[in-house]
Structures are given as C-alpha cells and as structure tokens.
C-alpha cells in the first residue's frame, strides 16, 4: 500500500487558486522532500495532507484513508509539525509530552510513549524546565520528539530545521533518518537543498502551485546536468 497518494489536488482561496492539480505518490518508509520558493504552495499542500485545510477538488489518501471523508482515521496515523511551531509555554517539556501523549494512549502505554519522547528530545534535566526557557534548538527537538513519540505511520514536517544552527540541524536530520529507518514515512518541506539532497529518497518541486519536478535527487541532477540540487532548483524556476 502507498503511504500517500495525491490525485489532481487543487486548493482555492476565494477566487485565487493556490494549488493547481498536484498528483504524486509517496511510498511507505520513504523520505519525500517538497521544495519550492516561498508562497509556492508547499505549506498549503502539507496542511491539506494534515487535514487542516479542506481540499477544493481532487483527493488525498493516507495509507488508504481519504483525508476528506475519513479525517479522524487519518489523524490517528499522521503527525504534523508546522513551521515555526511552539509549545504551551507554561508547561514543562515533560508535561507537554504527557499532554500530547494523552491523545494517543493511557496508563503504561502512555508512560512508555512519554519516555520515548523524552529520549528523543534528549534535553537532559531541562525536560523538567518550562518550555518558555528553551532555546529554539531545544524547542525544535521537543516538538520533533512530540511528533515522533506516538509512532505515526506518516510524519509531515514543515521547514523542520529552519533557523537552527549547524549542530541542531544535524541532530534533527539524524532523528529523521532514524525514524525513517524504522519504517515511518516522512514528508518534509525545506529550503535547504543540501539537507534535501542528503536526506530525501525522492523530491517534488512545486512552483506557483504546480508540481514541476519529481524524482530522486540523482535523477533530477542528471536531468539538468548539474552537481547540486540547488542548481536544479534555480534552473527549474528560471526555466
């Protein structure tokens, strides 16, 4: 079964169409990168997959569940991490993970889930500090841990390393690699072409709401006769 299937997906805001009929498939266990410049339609697409925005036309299915007609089933198997997301500032990191885990499990199962989250966040003693005392990197690690701890089948990560320093970015990429190795499918967006090149099995490029490129990083680089994904991006956008 395919992890994610988008079939001629369109999204309109009033009279403006932001996504123009995107079709793509993401295989189970794959890390799929969605790239494109600001306002291209990446976040809108990720939000439609995450059940946050309604699809104007077309369809999206996650592990066979239709996003429009079975949103509750989809929400049970996905985990979405928005760009620049925060957490409840009055809670400690541990309390935040406990709060989020309570939506997926109870009792011993919940305890195990929280423990997994604490290990993934790797914040040491600071897991018991209030969230509003965390640095951006610590916050992102906590949120990644929150997204991964319920063992979703599909993790949707929007600009997950945006604004982070080298070490934090590296550590988060390691976490993504590790979760993908356990069979979790990852769909992520990023402006960091180096990161996408290193992490993603396949890449889709969106420009003005259209999917203009789809393939492995190696295939795309070969197609454009360049050495980096960044050059592919520039050539594709500039025509």
């Amino acid at each position: 079964m395919e992890a994610l299937v988008l079939n001629d997906v369109r999204k309109s805001y009033g009279n403006r169409e932001a996504v123009h009929g995107i079709s793509l498939t993401v295989h189970e266990g794959e890390i799929f990168g969605l790239i494109g410049h600001n306002g291209a339609g990446k976040t809108t697409t990720l939000r439609m997959i995450s059940t946050l925005l309604r699809i104007t036309s077309g369809s999206i299915s996650v592990y066979g569940h239709d996003v429009a007609t079975e949103p509750d089933e989809v929400r049970k198997i996905i985990s979405y991490l928005p760009e620049d997301a925060g957490a409840y500032k009055d809670l400690t990191g541990r309390a935040y993970l406990e709060f989020m885990a309570s939506f997926f499990a109870s009792g011993a199962e919940k305890e195990a889930m929280v423990q997994k989250g604490i290990e993934l966040a790797d914040l040491g003693d600071r897991i018991d500090s209030k969230v509003d005392t965390y640095s951006k990197g610590m916050m992102r690690r906590l949120l990644i841990a929150r997204a991964i701890m319920p063992s979703p089948r599909l993790a949707i990560l929007d600009e997950v390393t945006s604004g982070l320093d080298v070490i934090n970015s590296y550590e988060i990429r390691e976490i993504i690699r590790n979760i993908a190795s356990t069979g979790v499918t990852v769909v992520m967006s990023s402006h960091n072409m180096f990161e996408v090149d290193m992490l993603c099995d396949r890449v889709g490029m969106i420009d003005q709401g259209n999917l203009i490129l789809l393939g492995t990083p190696a295939e795309l680089k070969a197609e454009y006769g360049v050495d980096t994904l960044e050059e592919v991006f520039v050539k594709a956008v500039r025509g």
Binding site: Y13, G14, N15, R16, R47, S50, T51, L52, L53, R54, D72, R75, K76, I78, S79, Y80, L81, P82, E83, D84, A85, G86, A87, Y88, K89, M100, F103, F104, R146
Partner: protein
C-alpha cells in the same frame, strides 16, 4: 522630519486602527444612548405620579378643603394626576386596595372623615393620613414616586399649619400647629405580592433590594470581560505559536477541543465570579453598615429573601452566561490572527456586557420598555444580572426563560465554533474567505 516625529507618526498609525476607531465611536453612541435612557428614567421618576385620594367632599374646617388645596398646589396641568376614589374614609384597607388595582393606581392617600378630623383638631393631636402603595419592581429611580406621596402629605400639613397659625390665640400646642397632618408609621401600607405590609414604603423596599443586588451586574460585567479576554488572548496565542494547528491534527474530535476549552474557562470564570461576589458583598456590607446603618426592611418578612433553590438558579444563570460569553469569544477568537489582533476582538464582548449592566442598574427589567426589554433579553449576559431581583419578586419564569435561552445560545455558539474549527478560517484567517474577498475587493 525629526526621529521623534517619525516614531510618533508610526505609533499613531499603529494605534489608530479602523477597529479601535470604530470601538471608540460605538462607545460614544452607547454612552449617549445610556445618557438618554437614564435622563428619561430620572424625568419620569421626578414626574408627579397619578395617585388616588380618599377624602370627604368640601371643607373640613373653615377655609381648609384638602382636595382643593392639592388641586391648587399641583396646578391645572396636573389635575388629572389626582384621582378622587370611590372608596370612602370609612372603607376598609382591602376595599381601597381593590379599587387601586382596578383603577391601575400604585399609590393612594386616605384622609380621615370630617368627624375624626374635628376630634383631632379639638384635642390638638396630629391628623393621620394613611398611605397605600402597590409595590412594583422598578429600576434605580423607579421608587422615587413613593417619596413624592410624602410630599403630598406635607403640602396638606403646611396649608393647615398656616391656617392654624393665622387664627390661633391663647394656649397653643406648637408641635401640633407646626405639623398638624402626618402619617404615622403604621398608617403606611405597601402591598407586596398581594400581602399588605405596614410601616414601609416601596422606596424602602427598593433600597434594600438595590443594596443586595446592585453589585451583581458589575460583577457579571467584570467576569465576562475578564474571562472573555483570557479566552480570546489564549486563542490568539495558540494561533501565534501554532499549538492550535498541532492540536487540530491530533485524533481528537473538534467538539472535544471546543467544549474542553469552554468548560475549563467557564469553571475558572465561575470561581472568579464567586470570589468577586464575596469580596464585593463584604465591601458593600461594610459600606451600608457604616453609612446608612442598613434599612429596617426585612426581605424575609416580605417573602422576598432568596432560598437555596433560588441561589442555585442564580449560579446556573451565571455559569451559562459565562459559557455564552466564551462561545462568543471562541467565535471571535477564530478570526484573530495573533495575540495582538486578539486583544481588539474583546471590544464587542465588552460592549455587550456593558449594555445590560447599565439597563439593569438604571431602569431594571421591569421598568424598561418593550424594545429595551427585547434587547436586554437577547443579550445573554443580562440574565444573571436580572436573576436575583427577579427571584426576589418571585418571577421564576423570567429566570427559567433566561436559563433556557442561554442554554440554546450556548449550544448554538458551540456548534458555530465547531463549524469554524472544521473550516479553513481558523488557519487562513478571514481574509482568505471568498465572501470577504468579494466585499473588500482583495485577492
């Protein structure tokens, strides 16, 4: 342009948003309207009320005709305010009250018959005029009419006093001459809910009711504004931090998210409310105890004291009004882009809380006209403000009706909120809505 001028211009532009200007204009209109309302209420309270007069025809003593004296005192334009009743000086209290009810009179005075008058004059004892009132619950100024009745007695007294002073010689009882007509405490009869109570006027009752209920509208308004601000700000903050986006992708029903937020805030609001009421009742108790020494009216004796069931209704009414406020806040908060924009969203709620507070405090539900009653009833926050006085007057129907209305209002607002939570507006804001785009011409 200096640096400071640039900063001032930028700050003014940021602070004077269309939303804030509209809010100020609405407040001006609101206060102007309330000024008119209060002015009208004061005017109508100051106006001589129509009252019944029970008196024997003609002069009681040489040159002293009570009916004529009152006609002369109030002038031709107010002659219709004095209604000569069919009851006679010998009629029983119940006969007089029946006639008052029949003729729609809320107050009446009864002079003694000529024989009793002569006896009092001969013995130089004060001539007692009886006062009758049908108690009607009104606003802050509505019971002023009962003090005007006392002035009617004073007019009769001073006119007779002048007559006596002019013709008096020899041994004089100055106390009698200075105040020949009056009303003994027991001759003041006020009918409350069909039962007659002596020695108290509607003014006394109104004072006691007001002293016990005046703080309620203020407390309710403070709670509504405070809880509303907390919830709208929390919504703005959740949007800004994108914690709401995260929550909405969790396997939780939208109704659970909305109801959970509303119930939690309502419980907090109720706790705040009880704390405020306790604090204010201690404050008011200290004020009335120190300044006026509390009135002699016992609401318990009048059958107007609240029992446990009444208090339970007041609490239910207060809780539901908070839920309604939160429902409105959740709807308004759905349109907030961030924490800052959420702050301006509280203005409509504040206005909605202030309107019933002023109406209930100044005219009261029972003293308001039909249109104002309709507006007051439609605003859910009015109901806990009106609940205590309504229950004191035994008007359980109004309170239960209010509770039923608020329950429906709360349910509808929760359903609208759930619908908004299922729509794109929560994520994209109102600007991306096609109807708003049509309206503003934006894309």
């Amino acid at each position: 342009m200096s640096h400071m001028t640039s900063i001032i211009r930028k700050e003014v532009r940021e602070l004077l948003t269309p939303g804030s200007v509209i809010s100020v204009l609405v407040m001006v209109v609101l206060f102007a309207g309330l000024g008119g309302l209060i002015g009208g209420e004061v005017d109508s309270a100051a106006e001589l009320p129509q009252f019944g007069l029970i008196v024997e025809e003609g002069e009681y003593t040489d040159g002293w005709d009570p009916a004529q004296i009152l006609y002369d005192a109030y002038g031709e334009e107010n002659a219709s305010k004095i209604v000569i009743m069919d009851s006679t000086c010998g009629s029983s209290d119940s006969e007089i009250i029946s006639e008052m009810q029949e003729k729609g009179l809320v107050s009446a005075i009864a002079l003694p018959d000529k024989e009793s008058f002569s006896e009092s004059m001969a013995s130089q004892t004060q001539i007692s005029v009886k006062q009758y009132y049908l108690y009607q619950p009104t606003g802050l100024f509505g019971s002023v009419g009962s003090t005007i009745m006392s002035s009617v007695v004073s007019i009769l007294s001073s006119s007779l006093s002048q007559l006596l002073v002019a013709g008096e010689s020899g041994d004089v009882n100055y106390q009698f001459i200075m105040n020949p007509v009056g009303t003994a405490g027991d001759d003041i009869n006020t009918i409350v809910d069909g039962a007659m109570h002596s020695g108290i006027t509607p003014y006394d009752i109104s004072n006691e009711v007001t002293s016990q209920t005046l703080m309620i509208p203020i407390v309710i308004m403070i709670i509504i504004m405070m809880v509303g601000s907390i919830v709208i700000s929390s919504m703005g903050s959740e949007k800004e931090n994108k914690t709401l986006e995260t929550l909405l992708t969790m396997p939780i029903k939208r109704t659970s998210i909305v109801s959970g937020k509303i119930v939690a805030a309502a419980i907090v609001g109720l706790v705040y409310g009880l704390a405020y009421m306790l604090g204010m009742s201690i404050y008011m108790g200290a004020m009335t105890g120190t300044i006026s020494g509390s009135t002699s009216v016992s609401l318990e004796d009048l059958g107007m004291a609240l029992d446990a069931a009444d208090w339970a209704l007041v609490m239910v009414s207060m809780f539901l009004s908070i839920v309604c406020a939160l429902g409105i806040c959740m709807i308004l908060g759905a349109f907030a882009k961030n924490y800052k924009s959420a702050q301006t969203m509280t203005m409509p709620l504040s206005i909605l809380a202030m309107i019933p507070m002023f109406i209930v405090m100044f005219t009261g539900w029972y003293g308001a006209g039909g249109a104002i009653q309709a507006i007051t009833f439609a605003i859910p926050f009015s109901h806990p403000m009106m609940a205590m006085p309504a229950l004191m007057y035994g008007d359980v129907t109004l309170v239960l009706g209010g509770i039923a209305y608020m329950a429906v209002f709360a349910l509808v607002s929760i359903l609208i909120t759930v619908r908004l939570y299922n729509s794109d507006i929560l994520i994209t804001g109102i600007g991306q809505n096609k109807y708003v785009q049509k309206l503003t011409g934006r894309k």
